[in-house]
Subunit: 305 residues, 2 copies
DNA sequence: TGAAAGCACAGGCATATCCTTGAGATGGCG
DNA sequence: CGCCATCTCAAGGATATGCCTGTGCTTTCA
């Protein structure tokens, strides 16, 4: 079987015209190199050197094969170098999970931060939804992610909260915003809510469910949509009120519902941002980097914990 | 240390997304492949797959390294294929030794014969002079050759005569050609002879020396030149007579000395063509081919022995 | 919740690799 | 012609490699 070691011995011998010199360069004993050459000649079925008592002389076959051997070794070296570059985050792809609202807060800045420090890398920010990110983590498609809590959590995940964001009540009707919104009145409100598909996993909905738990009340959602942007726009047009993290409200309301406003809930509810990855996993340098940068970005917008 | 085997296991695993499937394809047990992957990860210092209980998932590092691994294996395969092609004389270089006059007789036809049967090869016909060819053989730079005999012969060479060519006396003066040239009259002739540099090794001169040995006579060379062509041309212009193999005379006289002719010597002298290579050497297919074709060509012109 | 799939780990065996040493052959060189 | 350099070959041993079997853990799926 052809081996890189054989090719290395071959080239060293070719260049020095001597097994002894080749062995010296490679740090082996001369019979070892001799054996490698013989093995190579046998696997290829050709004679590479003519043994002429003193020294060896490359045959024309050796002349022909030398460029191929060099290219093979160069390709192997390239493989090694590529791995080193990836290791030092000079190149390669960094894939990181981030659910919708977190991406909205910090996505562009996070990518900019990464490229600032590591101009050669590719960046993939994965995940429309926290629950999807979670699934990718569980299946191993993602190494680490920034998710919203509370939400789906399964065994074997390590979750580290890094910031919290108050959940607020937003409305286009100023009379709805005269005082903080209580849970009791919330249950009577006519709401337009996003994340329809993920309604059972969505962190805001989970928070509201928990707050309503034991009161016998439940949420009235008049309109269900997927995108927070659409929910906010509908709220702005007066089709209903909505509940969303304060950070999202500050970003979306001026743009999509300029006449609307928001108030706190009573009791206050908090959406948490957390770093999550498989429990017991040793994180790659790239993942550590992403966690560090994403945490820094999130903590500029939301309150660190 | 990076190995081709590791890369093969890596690619098989990457493509199947499973160590078990890769092992099956490669014909190994699953732990063997697992070990190879682990070894590769260790030598490269990166994680290639995420182990997720059931199955393995390639990391982005694996995505990045896969093309490099493929190229390395392709280069190795290329090396192997190049060797196979050389082995079957489909490509590569055939180097063969042939001294001046033999090349003159059969050189172009011999190369044409080779290229007819093996269109992909390169051909090198080496050697201005029999003695130089001999040195190349001894040093291993040449595998085999067609030489003139008698000439220099050292120990350790296997010499097989394949044809003989009568040595003739050529002159532009018809009175010199009225009867066969005796050795005695030869010693009195005014000669123009080629192969000045190699005069002690040249086979025609060696033959003449042997013929004159014991007579007390010696050769008179009026003019010494290197090329047989120049010697013949000078002879044609009447500056002296010359001695050369009959085959060479038949080729050169019509072209360079149209009014000259030649006669036999008495006793007749014969120049021998011989195949020669290092004793005990196993010849490559390419060398066998050259010997076969060169012999056939020479035997068409000179008398087989 | 049990069965099946898939991987890691451990133990063990066979072989390969690489080393050393020493003897023998061969060719170059003074 | 003898010495030196260099290669081959052989023997022997230490170590590494490659591979297998068996086992246990985790995850998936019915």
């Amino acid at each position: 079987m052809l081996s890189l070691h054989q090719l290395r011995c071959f080239l060293a011998t070719y260049e020095h015209g001597s097994l002894t010199a080749a062995a010296e360069e490679l740090g082996y004993a001369q019979p070892s190199v001799s054996e490698q050459i013989r093995g190579l000649e046998q696997t290829l079925g050709v004679q590479l050197f003519r043994r002429v008592g003193r020294g060896v002389i490359p045959t024309t076959v050796a002349d022909t094969l030398r460029p191929h051997a060099e290219q093979t070794l160069a390709a192997a070296e390239d493989t090694r170098l590529a791995a080193q570059q990836v290791r030092r985050i000079e190149t390669g792809t960094i894939r990181f999970g981030m659910f919708g609202v977190a991406r909205l807060y910090a996505g562009a800045d996070l990518v900019a931060d990464v490229l600032e420090r590591h101009p050669g890398v590719r960046v993939e920010l994965i995940g429309q939804n926290s629950s999807e990110v979670h699934e990718d983590l569980r299946r191993g498609r993602l190494e680490a992610a920034m998710i919203a809590m509370p939400g789906v959590t399964s065994e074997g995940m390590e979750v580290r909260p890094v910031a919290r964001d108050e959940v607020v009540y937003a409305s286009a009707d100023p009379t709805h915003l005269e005082r903080p919104m209580t849970v009791r009145r919330l249950a009577e409100a006519s709401l337009v809510m996003p994340e329809t598909t993920w309604r059972t996993d969505d962190s805001v909905r989970t928070l509201l469910r928990q707050a309503l738990q034991g009161t016998g009340l439940s949420l009235q959602t008049r309109i269900e949509v997927e995108d927070p942007e659409i929910a906010v726009e509908l709220m702005g047009r007066g089709y209903g009120d909505t509940v969303l993290p304060k950070g999202a409200a500050e970003v979306l309301l001026p743009r999509l519902a300029p006449h609307a406003g928001f108030v706190s809930l009573r009791p206050r509810l908090y959406d948490y941002f957390a770093v999550v990855h498989r429990a017991g996993a040793r994180l790659s340098p790239a993942a550590e980097l992403m966690i560090e940068l994403a945490t820094a970005r999130i903590q500029r917008i939301a309150e660190p914990v």
